[in-house]
Every structure is written in C-alpha cells, then in structure tokens.
Symmetry: C2
C-alpha cells in the first residue's frame, strides 16, 4: 500500500499515444510511483467516442466524453487530442485550475504557445512538451536546461519521419517519388492526406518550437519559411548522390546578421543537400535527429525514433514524472524564457549555397553567358558541370549543374529569376539549397 | 541596472574549466541574467596558487585561497577542483549552508555519491553534475528526467575521449598503439600518467554515474568491472576492421537476469567490437557518444565533444542556470532517485560474444579439437576462420579466429582457460568481446 500523496492524472485523448500512456502507466505504476514518491492515479480518459476500438485497450470505467469536468480537480492533465480546439481551451482551464499540463500538441504550441506559456506562468504551473518534437528523443530539456547557459548558433533537424522515409528510400533504393509515397502510405508513415507532412507544415511547427527554445524568443509558426518535398524528383536525388550529397527535409533555425548588421534569427523548412559524411546523412527511414551547433558546447546530435505510439508515450511518461515532482515540490514551474527577444528576419537575410540544375542550349558561349548572368548578381560559382548534349541534332540541349558559393538568399533568388528569363536557358530544372555543414 | 535578486556564485578551482566558466559568465552575464531573471555574480574563485598563470585570465580581485570561507554565504557553489578531498568536504559544507551545488567531479560522485546526494536531499538543495559525464553532451538530464518514465535496458557509452582518439587513429590510420599514444600525449589528450584513461578508470567512474541514473540504483565505482585498452594491439584493430568491426572502449550498464532468475544490473568497461555500420562506430577522434536502449523510447543516441575547457564550461553554465532557477523557485530540489534498488550482479551473469584469436599448430584435426573444447563448455561457434600456415615448415603455426555465439561470461571465461591449457593451442593471442548491437 502506498501511504504517500496521490496525484490525479487526467488524460485527454484515447488515440494511439493516449492508449499507450494509460497502458504503460498501469503496467509500470508501482515502479514510477516509487521514482516520484507519490501515487500516480489515472482518474479518467476523455474521448469523443467511448465505444471505439483502441489498441492497447483502455478500461471502460476510465472513459468519459466530458473533458471539461475531467480537467477540474486533476493534478496533472495530459493533452493528447491534437488540433487547436478544444485542446487550447482545455489546457487553459487545466492551468487555471492549478494543474501541471503535458502536451504533445506541436500545432497548438506553434500557434498559441505564447498564450499557453503566459497562462502557466501566471499560476506558477508548468507546461511540459517533450513529446511535441521528435517524439522519444530528449530535445526539449537539453535545449531548455542543459544548453541554457550556452549560445545556440544553429539547429538543423530531421524532425519529420514520413518525409525522411520517402527521401531515404529514393536515395537508398532508387525509388521514384510516387513509389516511395505509395509505400510510406502503406506502412502508415503517411496519412490519407499527406499534405501536413510532405508540404513541410509538420516540420515547420517543430521548427517554430525549437527556434523559440534555442533563441529564447517566441517564434510563431507563421514566421517559419516553409517548402515541402513535392518538388524533389528522383533525378534530383540521384544527382545529389552522384555529387556526394543526400537530400533531406531540414528544419533549420539560426542566428543571422540582418541587412542593418543587427543580429536576428531565421527559421526555415526546406529540402537541402547534406554531405554524405555528415551524421545527419546517416539518419535513415522514419528516424529523427536534431543537430545543434552551440558556441561553447560545439556540435551536438540527438538521435532516435521520431514517431510511434509507445515511443511518444515514453516522452509523455517522462513529462508526467517531471510534472509530478514539480507538483510535489510546490514551487512555481520554470517559466518559458523569452529573454532573447531576437528579431525574426526574412529568409532573404540567410546566406546559403544553391545547386541549380539548368537545361541550356548546347552551343558555344552558353556557359559563359550563364556564368556572366550569375556574376552580375554578385554570386560566385563554386562548381559547374555540363553534361553531354541530347535532343534533336539541330537544336541540342545540355544539362548544366551549377553549385554557387555562399550568398544571401535574396541575391540567389534574383539570380534564379534572371536565369529563368535568359534566352540561353531552356528551363531551370531544379534549385536546392546546399546546407553548409 | 538589474533590480532583481542577486545570486552569489562561488567557484572552487581555477583550472581550465573554472577559468572558462568565469570568463564566459562575465562575457555573457547580461544574457544569462535575463534568462534566469536574477543577478549572477561570481563572488570569488578559490585556487591553490593565486599567482599562477591561467587561460583565460581570472581577475585577481576574485582569487582567494580560502575556499572554506568562500562557500559560506554563496547561493551557488561550483566545484571544479577534482579529486576526493577537499572537494567532498567543501560540497558538504556548501549544501549544509543552503547552497545549490554544481560539480564536474566524476571521481567524487562515483565514490561518495550516496553521501553527497543524501546531504543535498536533507536540506532540499540540489546537486547538479551535467559536466561529470561526456562534458558538453546533455546526458544527465535526459536520463534523470526525459527517460524517467521509461525503463532503460542498456547504455553503451564512448565516454573517454583520449582512448577513443587512440583507438580511432589505430583504426583509421593504421597506427600502432605506441604511435597513437605518443600523438595523443602531444595533443594533450593524455596526461603525463595516462593510467586513468588507458586503464579505464575514468570510464568506470562515468559508467557508475550513468548506471546509477539509468537504473535508479546507487552503483559505486568499485562495482564496475574494468578493463583498459593497453592489451589491444594493432593486429587486433586490423583483424576487427577486416571482419567489419571497430574496437571501442565502451562503458556499458545493462539489465541482466541473474543465475536465480531475478533481475539485476551489471556495469562494465572494456574494449569491445562494434559493427562498423552502428552509429557508435562513427564516433571519431576525441568525441563522445552515449547510446541508450530504452524499453519504450527504443534506441537513442547523444553525441558531441567529450572534453575541452569551453565545452565542459557549457555544461556547467547550464547547471548554473538550472541551480539559479531552483534557488529562486525555492521549493526543494529533485532528490536523486534510488527507488530501483536493483542488485548489482557480477560480470559472470552477462551474456556476450567473444572474438578469440588463437595461434594453433597447423595440423589436421586441430580445428575439430578446438571446436570440441569450446562445445564442451556449452558455447557455440558462430564463425571460425583459419589463416594460412606460417613459421617453420617442420612445426607450422596457423592463426584461428573464432567468434562465439552469445553465452554467459562465466562459460566464456572457462572456455578461454581451457583453450589456454590445450596442447593444440600454442597461444591465445587475444580475446575481445563482441557487443550485440
């Protein structure tokens, strides 16, 4: 018998993660209670349909459709409903009722983070969200606490398992985009509507959360520049491979110098070429990894499973233990630090490299014309590779692959626009950033 | 001007890490104070010799030889002296005086951890030690908090940069042990007396700390089985490479089933063969990495710099921010969890694989004799490879490389002893464990 204080846990949502949290808590309750030094009692699980089939099963006695009543009187509320509403209102109600709150809801944090963190600070409660980015990989606490005395320069994350699976299969097996997407859907990596993943919306939400933490600055998801992977072809992946690169969808947040010389931050999600010898290139399948460049600590990498009900439940359970300890200690929770207050700068202020694949007329002087056009925009060429001509003998076409040196996005974008308008260029076949690593 | 509360920080030790902590704190004071919401004032640095040259320099006004007085009245004490005494007494005095304490002292934690954690718990202060294992890599908080709701099955860490540098150079450049050690010493990876590193003492201290955290059980350093890398030859590394492995000095802590069927833990440090495609094999030079296998989270890896004054200072600064927040919040610190209370089992209870290199008489029937001897001990052979004969024609010697299947250490040790006594075996040239990964 436990003779210490009993903490009441309310779970909102009985989906895959919620069902696993309830199941693992029940199976390891004694062990976790001993770690916390308090009882951990799940008092109810709020669901939309109490009759639905769940795996693992949730005891019927715990199920309720009345989430509002459930959050009142709970010590710890675990929000796993997803979406903006009613998740937002329920979390606010829980915080105001004095509960510590755990959420895995990246969309909500990336959209209404400011409101939620302020509500938590007002009542001295804490909002825990280790599961919101990269599932089981501990990345929130390391950024929030371990690196709290450091200055993060840049974060590069593979934070969407579905798109990493697709790009990895295209790279490793030579599959086409369509084939890789079909298999990803069959294996459950993609939803029926894959837009959130393949267009980078999911990664952008995570980028907003990582950027906020790393730079102690509230970064809303609308401030994240976002490009998905739907424009990436098998030819792009093969060309990258031949050049010693692999295409990855990266969530990047970094310190940059704005046009006025003042420091700011840019957050962006887009496909990028990563050198094959870099640790991020070795992240295969549905796995996730977050690479952090800190001024004092140097490069760090955090690697693991980026999805899965049990894996995500691991992060939620860790947060439950933290919330329970905080609740027992009684002091106020750690307020979200926004002391950085850095300006969020436009993509134009980032300096990067581009790989530009051009289809050009195969005649004398074309390379020089293209090179001249690029130089006019203040961009210099690191490497240019012209393939053998093909097409009709009377009007042959060649492929020209140009890799630029580091230049500001604004100059690179203007360069690409000019190339598109040049009579020497038939088509700009692809433009992919080459991340400096 | 800062109009909020001022926290007084005492630093014990003005070596490389201490000097960097003081320097970084001074240069980024405003930024860190804003994150914490309080003043962070270094009130003094206790050193043995106030006249010594330091890099970076410490303002003379801060230096004192009176450590005892310095710890009294400080809110946060940072112990970077190293060694057991006076570090232990000063930390105890600081805790009793109500300070939160930060230490990077792995030897002290691995030896007197129990006493120090109890002293902290008694006064509600907290002992922070992120820098004690793997320098800048956040591994203490992830184990202590993020994975607090999970069940760790096994940890495998490359936690000693010096020996990793040596083994990596032997593997990548084909250097001899002597050559690699000489360069390691020249580059400052090894002390004048390299025993602590090459004999695995440093790694064993870190193994004790990681095992204690992962299994919620106090594991003293004496309970860690320890073997160094001095027995590893260039031939061993080359043979491993040919077979698709790399030799790494690993700190391993894992759950095992004891002879009576009850669960316990074993902590061990020894050279081991790691498959080349495993992430741990890609940890080069002086870097560190900790690979964690958790029941729910699955495999996780934490990678980064394992040494260096600035890198270690990053971890200490993170702890200063945490300690400051805890101090301001006022509630009791999180007590070290020892609720696991797992029995610590002997190495004999571990099941592993061995690669055994034998010099045998090159005559018919030898392989069958060796195989028979191994089978007699209940061990089965996964792979056997006999090289061409060499030596005198009248008495030729062959090299036989045997890789066993997984068996208990006790059976493997008995097998090796029997091989040593067999007339068919001229010499057991090397025995290295092959870690199941």
């Amino acid at each position: 018998m436990i003779d210490y204080r009993n903490l009441r846990i309310a779970v909102l949502g009985g989906g895959n993660v919620g069902a696993n949290v309830v199941d693992l808590l029940a199976r390891h309750r004694e062990e976790l209670e001993a770690r916390v030094g308090a009882g951990l009692e799940v008092v109810g699980v709020a669901v939309r349909d109490t009759g639905a089939t769940r795996s693992p099963e949730i005891p019927a006695a715990l199920l309720t459709t009345d989430a509002e009543s459930l959050v009142t009187g709970a010590d710890i509320v675990v929000e796993l409903i997803g979406g903006l509403e009613p998740a937002r209102s329920l979390i606010l109600a829980a915080l105001r009722a004095g509960a510590d709150v755990i959420t895995a809801n990246k969309a909500l944090l990336a959209t209404h983070g400011e409101e939620l963190f302020e509500a938590a600070a007002q009542v001295g409660a804490q909002l825990h969200y280790e599961a919101a980015v990269a599932a089981a990989i501990p990345i929130i606490r390391p950024l929030r606490e371990s690196l709290a005395g450091d200055r993060v320069r840049r974060i590069l994350g593979i934070v969407n398992g579905s798109t990493n699976f697709i790009l990895d299969k295209m790279d490793q097996e030579g599959w086409s985009t369509e084939e890789a997407m079909r298999v990803a859907r069959e294996l459950g990596y993609l939803e029926a509507d894959p837009t959130l993943d393949v267009e980078g919306y999911d990664a952008a939400q995570k980028a907003a959360i990582l950027a906020s933490l790393a730079f102690h600055t509230r970064v809303p998801v609308e401030a994240v520049h976002r490009e998905g992977i739907t424009g990436i072809t098998g030819a792009d992946v093969a060309a990258a491979k031949a050049a010693g690169y692999v295409v990855k969808l990266l969530a990047i947040a970094e310190r940059v110098e704005g046009e006025d010389g003042a420091e700011g931050l840019v957050a962006r999600v887009h496909p990028a070429l990563v050198p094959r010898e870099h640790p991020l290139a070795a992240v295969h399948g549905g796995n996730n990894a977050v690479f952090v460049e800190a001024e004092f600590a140097g490069p760090l990498m955090f690697y693991g499973a980026g999805a899965g009900g049990v894996q995500t439940a691991s992060a939620v359970l860790g947060d439950i233990v933290s919330a329970a300890r905080r609740h027992l200690a009684g002091g106020p929770g750690v307020a979200e630090s926004t002391s950085g207050g850095m300006p969020i700068l436009p993509l134009d202020d980032v300096a990067t490299r581009y790989q530009i694949v051009l289809e050009v007329a195969d005649m004398p002087g074309v390379l020089s014309q293209v090179a001249g056009l690029i130089a006019e925009h203040g961009v210099s060429i690191e490497q240019a590779l012209q393939s053998t001509a093909r097409g009709e003998a009377a009007d042959p076409t060649a492929t020209l692959v140009v890799v630029t040196h580091r230049a500001r996005e604004a100059a690179l974008a203007a360069t690409v626009a000019a190339l598109n308008g040049s009579p020497a260029v038939r088509r700009v076949a692809s433009v992919i950033r080459v991340e400096g690593l």
